[in-house]
Symmetry: C2
Subunit: 627 residues, 2 copies
């Protein structure tokens, strides 16, 4: 305790300090409901799956407590660790004895599997023992170690656990002996250990872990991984100028490098990170915040390679982007990073889990014919527990703190008790965000206290109004920035924010050939899509809308848990097409008028299979002929 997600309390080059998960309670709003579902449905069902697929058994087997062969993929330990980390965050936001007992049982199994020398990976026991550390490229030992450390740190912060933590430290020390100053050169095929080592340094104050992270980062581009671009080993980290390779690996590496920067302040690293971030956001990110467009290698594609039907956009990659942007934000205090977090969270990440909390997408296309469906689990099951730990940690991102004040990063029904300069500031948010742009923030303080409150003005917002105790505040309220209110705050002070939540038509850089002449609909942070099930009578791929189409947001209380839908009018160019040929002489009929209904992208594929599309063709506005 406290359970900070990335603890920058003492990081000299972080602009902001993170706020403990336990200090922010999400009420029954958008995310509060999902946190409840996570606790009641997702976490128990994932535990069952971890048991039923042999993932926890593997630990008992390695400990000699059960007999049989290793089950599943070499990196399956990491799924258990991510689940433990998720439980840690959940216990921080709401203690539950039964859940605590369950995680302690799992922790017992994990710890029993550790070797006397500190090594811990259930695949590399018995017959595979001799292969330890012989294939850094492919065997994911450092990756699993990183997840163990992250889980142990989260659990210790949440419950005071020392058992898993000591196990993690012993493994970390084994890694130091193997790859540290007196060890041999190494770097992981799948990054993750870097950010874990920095966090372990933050937790323990032991500088050797920070150095270990630095060494792993510095060792890239030296050919340890064969110079493979997909493993981001083609160049030294400090020479990277384009975001490439396996998306999750690339982004986890950037997380570690950002963590390193916040401790060391090395400008060269920050410059590289900014370059990679710009490249991602300007050339390689879906409108949903999804990244890693290419199936081949689960990788970032070329600039502007953003196919819709064949999008890869792994759920884990959107989560990794969220994680990286959180670190970039803590380092800099720049709102643009939170904009990307919010975009990924409400769209690319949230689509990764079904509304009932039990099924998952690994791959997230932006258009589909109805064949792509969520599944209960995967052989490579990285995404489900990753979604779990991300949602479980959500309270930890709502606020952050700087020298001079409190930063409000996210909006939802919530109560926070934030420690600021020795005082506790209670902040209550009343809002229907993300469905409604009005947020009422009420402060409770024991005595008057002068500091700044930084209010995040989302990049998507238009004209925003801010008022204090009923009085409108003048000032330059810039979208994509933090609006600073500095005063001597008093108990009961009330801030009202009003973000304009219009339905927006978003167009895409014309270098993305596939999206030319198309728009995506969005409102607030939510990106919408058309699903066939809501649009009988035409194929949603055939819809056209005109620039001046009427588009109305409408509350649909009976759809799912209640969602805001978009109703509009468009045209349908019915294609009189025999499925039996690929090309024919063009003979479009006049497009006929039709109404349509769009739903949030995150909600797609929760009903019967049907075609879906995020991008909608726009009817071009023609100038008058002069010919």
């Amino acid at each position: 305790m406290p359970t900070r997600v990335v603890d920058t309390s003492r990081s000299p080059y972080a602009k902001l300090r993170s706020v403990p998960v336990e200090d922010v309670k999400l009420k029954n709003g958008f995310w509060g409901k999902r946190l409840k579902k996570l606790r009641e449905v997702t976490i128990p069902s994932q535990y069952e799956l971890l048991e039923n697929t042999g993932r926890i058994y593997n630990f008992r087997r390695a400990a000699g407590r059960e007999k049989g062969g290793f089950q599943g993929l070499v990196f399956n330990d990491s799924d258990v660790y991510k689940w433990v980390e998720a439980v840690g965050f959940l216990l921080a936001s709401g203690y539950d004895e039964e859940l605590h007992r369950l995680v302690e049982k799992v922790v017992n199994d994990i710890c029993a599997a550790q070797d006397d020398d500190g090594y811990l990976n259930t695949f590399f026991t018995f017959e595979n023992r001799a292969q330890r550390w012989t294939n850094l490229r492919a065997m994911h030992e450092l990756y699993c170690a990183g997840h163990l450390i992250q889980a142990a740190v989260a659990l210790r912060r949440a419950t005071g656990d020392e058992k898993l933590f000591n196990t993690a430290v012993r493994f970390a020390n084994h890694i130091l002996r193997t790859f540290g100053p007196d060890g041999r050169p190494g770097t992981p095929g799948h990054p993750e250990i870097e950010m874990a080592m920095v966090e372990l340094y933050r937790e323990t104050g032991d500088y050797r872990y920070l150095n270990m992270a630095k060494t792993f980062i510095d060792n890239r581009g030296k050919g340890i991984l064969g110079g493979d671009v997909n493993l981001i080993d083609h160049k030294p980290f400090r020479q990277l100028d384009e975001i490439v390779g396996h998306a999750v690996r690339s982004l986890y590496l950037n997380c570690g490098a950002t963590d390193l920067y916040m401790e060391t302040g090395e400008r060269e690293i920050w410059n590289v990170l900014e370059k990679l971030w710009s490249n991602m956001v300007k050339c390689k990110m879906y409108v949903t915040g999804g990244v890693g467009s290419r199936y081949d290698g689960e990788a970032f594609g070329f600039n502007y390679e953003l196919p819709n039907v064949q999008a890869y956009a792994e759920t884990c990659a959107a989560i990794a982007s969220f994680m990286w942007n959180w670190r970039m934000f803590l380092a800099s205090g720049e709102a643009k990073f939170v904009d990307v977090m919010e975009l990924a969270l409400y769209n690319g990440i949230l689509a990764g889990v079904s509304l009932d909390g039990k099924e998952y997408f690994y791959v997230n296309p932006l258009a589909d014919r109805g064949k792509h469906r969520r599944r209960k689990w995967f052989e490579c099951a990285c995404c489900p527990p990753n979604v779990a730990r991300l949602i479980a940690s959500l309270p930890g991102y709502f606020y952050s703190v700087s020298e001079d004040g409190i930063w409000v990063n996210m909006y939802d029904e919530s109560v926070a008790n934030l420690e600021f300069k020795g005082n506790v500031v209670r902040i209550v948010q009343n809002t229907d965000y993300p469905w409604d742009g009005r947020v009422e923030i009420t402060l409770s303080l024991q005595h008057e206290h002068a500091f700044s409150i930084y209010l995040r003005i989302p990049g998507w917002s238009g004209k925003t109004e801010v008022s204090l105790n009923g009085l409108k505040i003048d000032g330059n309220i810039e979208p994509g920035s933090y609006f600073r209110l500095c005063r001597a705050w008093r108990d009961g002070d009330r801030i009202e924010l009003s973000f304009k939540m219009e339905v927006r038509k978003i167009s895409c850089n014309p270098l993305v050939y596939e999206n030319l002449g198309r728009v995506a609909l969005s409102r607030g942070p939510i990106v919408y899509c058309l699903e066939g099930v809501d649009n009988a009578g035409f194929d949603v791929w055939d819809l056209l809308i005109s620039e001046d189409a009427s588009l109305q947001a409408e509350w649909a209380p009976d759809m799912f848990d209640g969602i805001m839908v978009i109703r509009g009018e468009g045209y349908v160019a019915d294609s009189d097409w025999s499925q039996d040929r690929l090309y024919q002489a063009s003979k479009p009929d006049s497009a006929r008028k039709t109404g349509f209904l769009a739903v949030p992208y995150y909600a797609w594929a929760n009903r019967e299979p049907c075609p879906m599309s995020v991008w909608i063709r726009l009817v071009p506005k023609l100038g008058s002929f002069k010919g």
Copy 2:
């Protein structure tokens, strides 16, 4: 002699016999000019490159005539063989002593490299000798052997060569001993040997070669190649129902299977071939005839996975499709196969070589920003000599012969002297095809002779007129069929064909998301594209055309060697876009009117780098509002 491309003269299940290359002379028309360029520029420059890159040296080295290491990739022998095959076809269509001497020099180098036991592959000599036949998956020995056999058969037919032919036969016999009835089970990672073995059977009458081809085909799907779908080893051939895997491998395999069918008549094989063909043409072929859309594995994608910018569409794959369709046509006499040959030839294949005959595309996108350029050569240089042998063999496809008559498959300025039932029929074509749809065909016969002439009516043609000796012929002239004229032909008989060559707007199956609301322009067999260099003042990716746009074909005598361009009027929705962001609020200005010029796709990237696009957005026709 005669140099038939696929000799079906005695194939019991072939509907048609092929006609010798030497019997058809292409005059100074579209293809005649290219054949001349091939002879004068491409073949000599490729010889230089084969020497300069160590490909011919490898043979001398293997023979012990030169010292040093093996140079290049393991399958580089095949590039030399394809060049020899090309020279064989060229010598058949026009003898040239110097070229004959040059190819004999190369043949000497090849033959000297053969082992006493008949084995021949320059990589597997000296230090690599022990690895012969140990990795059928990846090492391309059977692939290279196939190309050797094809080259030897072509050269023997063209010049009477026995040297290379005996070498090829000795290698073929070595393969029979290794993988034949008394050998071990084998099948090639890269098909090619199958069609070569069938052709060797046709050349020699030795049934064992046909059986060997059958065995290689029958051995697929047995796990010899690890069950790899990219190697088409995931299923037995007779169970295939979707065209998948590495495009060239898949199509070469189909060539071999079609050859096998023409000899054995096994219906099950034909049914599979028809299924694969339908799947390719209805779901996986570009409008240019290019195939194999996916970079990953150089493979066929999913149905309707046809990206434009990220198209792979290897030149060799379009060639392989041409080769397969030729065999399917010989087997069946169905015009649909020649339609695909023609489409691939004028577009997907011809784009693979620069207009100066010296540079090549390996990958053929359908939209580009100007960075994709032809290159003089490749480390993996399969495409350049493949283009060479295909163009060199072109005279061999113009006609074919059935029991009852002569089939006219292709149109161009040409003179043919065809043997038919003991008589020689001289056929002169006068035409400006593919720029003009009129073709005049004049027959010379020594005496009156009753037979049928089958005239190919291209699938793209609209209303076609046929006249005989000036009199219009009534009859059902169906696009995509052969129109039969049966009569007692006399010397001087004159057939006039007139295909309607309108500019056509082609639309794509709406399941190809990327092409929704777009059209491609085409005229006759030629597909057009927009290049920036011809369209100053706007970005060709931004062009829109309306359904009733005026589109005129116009002869441009000064462009390249003279081409037909398309001029039209459209609209440009100028995108006011800062390159610096990926998404923004939609704010299209009215599209302004503009003229535009389109050029044949095959001619693209022969001038300065600039954006290019085949598909053009269509202005939708809107019905009237009723709301």
